[in-house]
Symmetry: C3
Subunit: 338 residues, 3 copies
C-alpha cells in the first residue's frame, strides 16, 4: 500500500478526457451475434472502408484534419482503420498520441464512420522480433497499449474494433518460431486485459503469414466470446483463381464468426510502390469484393495516403490512383445500396 | 573466460562494504522452526513493528536519521520494514541506495530492531504490469535486486527478512493473468537466487489480492524450507466480523508456517488519506492485534510517515494520528509484556 | 503492410556490404559429416587455433590489423575465434561492429584461417542474468545478433562457425535455474533463426558449467543436423589425471558429433592473471593436446592478448608467455605435420 494524497488529480483528468472523447450523437454500440457484427438493436452490419495512414504521419504532414475524414466519407467508407505504429506511439508519447486519436475518433463519429484501432506491427510477438525496426515492440508494451486504449475508449461507441496485432509472422523462421497455441495464448491474454479494463470494442484477431492464414481457427478457435477474425488477402498470397483457396485459408471462418479483411488492395506492376504481394489488376478487385458480398465479409482498403503503397490517391487533391479509381467506385456503389 | 587483472579492486571494495554494514553487537540470527521465527538458540519470537516509508523518500526530506529509529523504538517496535520502491532503487542507483540501507540497518541494529527489506511493488510480475508507474519493474530487475541484497547482507543478522514482492495482484485481470503455479515458480526462483548468493535472511512470500489471500498455500505451498508467509489484511478486505474469514483466507497458514502481517492499519472515514481498503476504527485494531496475539502472528503497522496513508503521525514532532494513538499504545503494552 | 518507396536504399547497401566481405579466393565451405568437420569435397579437418581478444578491444588499442593475423598464422593457427562481447556490440553499434568483423574476416581469409564468431557472454540466458555487467544481454538481443550475423555472412566461407553462446552457467544458482531442456530449446530457436536467415556456418553449442559439461547430450542431443559441440576444459575443472573424466564429461560426444574446444589454456600459479580455473602447468598442455589428437578434436587456445588471462604473449613484440611458449611450439608442430 502506498497512497499519496496529491495523486488524486491524475484520475480526475483521465475521466474528463474520456468524456470529451465521446461524440455528441453516439453511434450505436457494436457487438457480435453469431457470425455477424450487429448494432445495439441487433441489426447486422457489413462494413466497407478505408485505411488511414498512421495518424502520427498524417499529423506531421499537416493532413490529420476533418477534411481527410470528409473525403473518406465521400468515397463511400463506413469504417476507417487507424494503424498505430509502436515506434510512433513511443516517440510521440502516450498522452500526445491519445490526443491525436481523440481528434480522429471525434471526426469519424461526427461523420458516422466507425473506427478500428490497429496496433500496427509485423512480426513474432513471442520472440519480440519484427520485420524491421519501426515495428518493434514488446509483449509488455503491447499489453500496456491495450490497457490504455481499453480504458480510454471504454464508453466511446465510435471505436467499434480493437485489432490486436496487425500482421503476425515468423518470416519463415527468420524471427524464430511461434506455434498457434502460443499465439492464441497471447491473444487471449490481450483480450482479458482489454475487457478487465472496461474495453467494449470488438477484439479482432489475425493469424500467421502476415495475417493471411486462419486455418488453425477451425480446430482451435480463440477462447473468447464476442470477437471477430481478420485476414489480409493481398492478390499475390495465392495464384488466381483465388476463391477456393480463400475459402480454405480463411473464408470458411465466416460461416461461424464475423470476419473482416482489414487490408486488401492492389497496384499494377509498373505503378509507383508496386511490391510483393500486392501486384495485380482490377480482376482482383472484382474477385475480392464479390467474395465479400457473397459471404457477408467486411473489408477495408489499404491505404488512403499518397506515399504508402498500394496508395489510393496520388496527391492531396485526392486524385485516385488505379486502385483508387476502382475502390472509390466500388465503395460508392455499396453506399448507394445501403 | 575473460579475466582482467585490474578487476580485483571491485571485489575488495564490496567485502569491506559488507563488514562495515554489520553492527558492533550483532543481533541473534533468526531462522524458522516449525511455525515460528526463532533466534539462534531456538527461542520463538513474535514481532510487533512499524513500516518506515521509503528510505529514499525519507532521505530526500531530511528524516533518514538515527532519531527516526529511536522514535520507532520508543513506540515499542521490535521490527521495522523498509519498503524499497523499484523506481527509487533505479533512480538513486544501486550503490547509492545500498548506502542508505546500510545506514538504516546500522541504526536499527544498534537499537535492537530487526529489519525487513521489502521489494515494494504492486502488480503482476509475470506480465511485468503494475498498478502504476512507480511500481514498474521486471523479472530480471527483481532477480538482480535480490541477488545484490542477498550478497550484500549475507553476514548481517539485523536484516532478518527479505520480503520478495510486496503485493501481488492481477487487479481483476487489468494486468492480465497469473496462476498460483506461475507465481509460486517465480517465488521459488527468487529464493534459489537469494540462497545461492549467500542470503540467510528469511524469505517472506505473499499471495494475490494485494497480498491478502493465502488460500492456495493449503494445497500448494512454496517448495522451500525456512520461509514465512505474509498477509496484508486491511479492514475493508472483508466485512466485520473478520475473524472466521481471516482464518479461512490466511490465518490457517499460521498453524503450519510462520506468518507475519507486514502491513496492517486503519484510518477513520474523514481522516486525511482515507481510502479503500483502510477505512475503519479502533475495533479493527482490537480485532487484528487480538487475532495475532492468540495465534502467534507477527505484525507491522503501515506507516511511520506523516504523508503516506494511513499515517501514524501528523508531523515531524511525531504527534500520533488516530491510528497512531491506537498502535503506539498497543506496541508499548506489548513491549512491557516482553 | 507499409511500404515506403525510399526504403529500398538500405537493402541495396547491405547486399554490397556482403559482397565486399568475401575474400578474393574463398576458403572451402565447411560442413558436418558424421562426427567430423569436412571441406566441400568431404575431406575431414581438425583445427588448432587461437582466440583473438574482442575485436573492439583490439581496435581501441590499435592492434586490429593484418599483422595481428599474420602473427597468429606464424604461430601455426588454422582457425581464429572472435569473442564478441554483447556490451561491445551494443556500444559500438551494429553497423560499426560489422565493419570491424568484416576487416578481421578478410585478413583471416587472405591468410587461409577460418573464423569462429563467438557471442561472448557468460550466464543464464533464460533469466537474462550474467556473471558480470559486460556479459549482459537478452534473449531478444541474442536472437537479433544471430539474425544479423547469419544474414551478413551467409555467402562468406571464411566464417566457418557460429558459436551461439560462449559459457552457459547458472553459477550454482546465483543466476537462478535453467534446465538442459530449457537451454536446448533456446539453442534450437537460435539455430532456426540462423538458418532461416541464410546462415551456412556451422552452429556450435556448449553446455553448462561455463561450457565444460556436455553429459546431457548423451540422452538429449540438440535437435538439429549439421552442428558441432563445444567444451572449455580448463585444467582446474577436474583433478589430474584428467583423461577418464574428460571422456565422461564431454569427450564421449566426439564419437558421434564433431567436437571443438573453443577455449583451453593454463598459467602457472605465480603468473600474471593466474585465477581459478586455469592454474596448471605444461602437463595440462601435454594431456589436452594428446587427447585432442587421439580423438580428432579441434581446439583453440585462450588468448592471443597480453592483458587478458591466461595470456599467450607478454607485449606487442609477441614475446610468448609460459603457455605461449608451450602452445606456439604445439601449433607449429601440428602445422608441419599437415
Ligand atoms: Mg499495501
Ligand atoms: Mg505470418
Ligand atoms: Mg572462458
Ligand atoms: Mg492480487
Ligand atoms: Mg499489411
Amino acid at each position: 500500500m502506498r497512497f499519496s494524497v496529491p495523486g488524486l488529480a491524475l484520475g480526475f483528468f483521465l475521466v474528463v478526457g474520456q468524456l470529451l472523447a465521446q461524440p455528441a450523437t453516439p453511434l450505436s454500440r457494436l457487438r457480435v451475434q453469431g457470425n455477424a457484427f450487429v448494432t445495439a438493436d441487433g441489426k447486422p452490419v457489413v462494413f466497407q472502408g478505408l485505411n488511414a495512414s498512421d495518424p502520427d504521419k498524417l499529423e506531421k504532414s499537416g493532413h490529420w484534419d476533418r477534411s481527410y475524414f470528409e473525403e473518406m466519407k465521400r468515397w463511400g467508407a463506413t469504417i476507417v482503420r487507424f494503424p498505430v505504429h509502436p515506434a510512433a506511439w513511443r516517440n510521440r508519447g502516450k498522452a500526445q498520441y491519445l490526443q491525436l486519436l481523440d481528434k480522429g475518433v471525434a471526426w469519424a463519429g461526427e461523420l458516422g464512420l466507425y473506427v478500428v484501432i490497429d496496433w500496427h506491427t509485423i512480426g513474432n510477438l513471442k520472440n519480440e522480433m519484427y520485420q524491421n525496426p519501426m515495428y518493434e515492440t514488446t509483449r509488455r508494451e503491447t499489453f500496456e497499449f491495450w490497457r490504455t486504449i481499453a480504458d480510454h475508449y471504454k464508453d466511446n461507441t465510435t471505436v467499434g474494433f480493437f485489432e490486436l496485432f496487425n500482421e503476425p509472422t515468423v518470416m519463415g523462421g527468420k524471427l524464430g518460431t511461434c506455434s498457434w497455441a502460443e499465439w492464441k495464448a497471447l491473444m487471449e491474454e490481450t483480450i482479458t486485459i482489454i475487457r478487465a479494463n472496461g474495453g467494449k470494442a470488438i477484439p479482432l484477431v489475425a493469424g500467421f503469414n502476415w495475417a493471411y492464414d486462419l486455418r488453425d481457427v477451425a480446430g482451435s478457435p480463440i477462447n473468447a466470446e464476442g470477437i471477430g477474425y481478420v485476414s489480409h488477402p493481398y492478390p499475390m498470397k495465392r495464384e488466381k483463381p483465388w476463391e477456393d483457396k480463400w475459402t480454405a485459408d480463411w473464408g470458411f471462418v465466416a460461416k461461424k464468426y464475423p470476419l473482416i479483411l482489414t487490408e486488401i488492395g492492389f497496384c499494377g506492376p509498373d505503378d509507383k510502390g508496386a511490391h510483393v504481394p500486392v501486384i495485380s489488376d482490377e480482376s482482383y478487385g472484382d474477385a475480392i469484393t464479390r467474395y465479400c458480398d457473397a459471404n457477408g465479409i467486411s473489408y477495408i482498403v489499404w491505404v488512403f495516403d499518397p506515399q504508402w503503397a498500394p496508395m489510393l490517391f496520388t496527391d492531396w487533391t485526392y486524385k485516385p490512383t488505379r486502385q483508387g479509381t476502382y475502390f472509390k467506385k466500388a465503395l460508392q456503389q455499396q453506399a448507394t445500396r445501403r
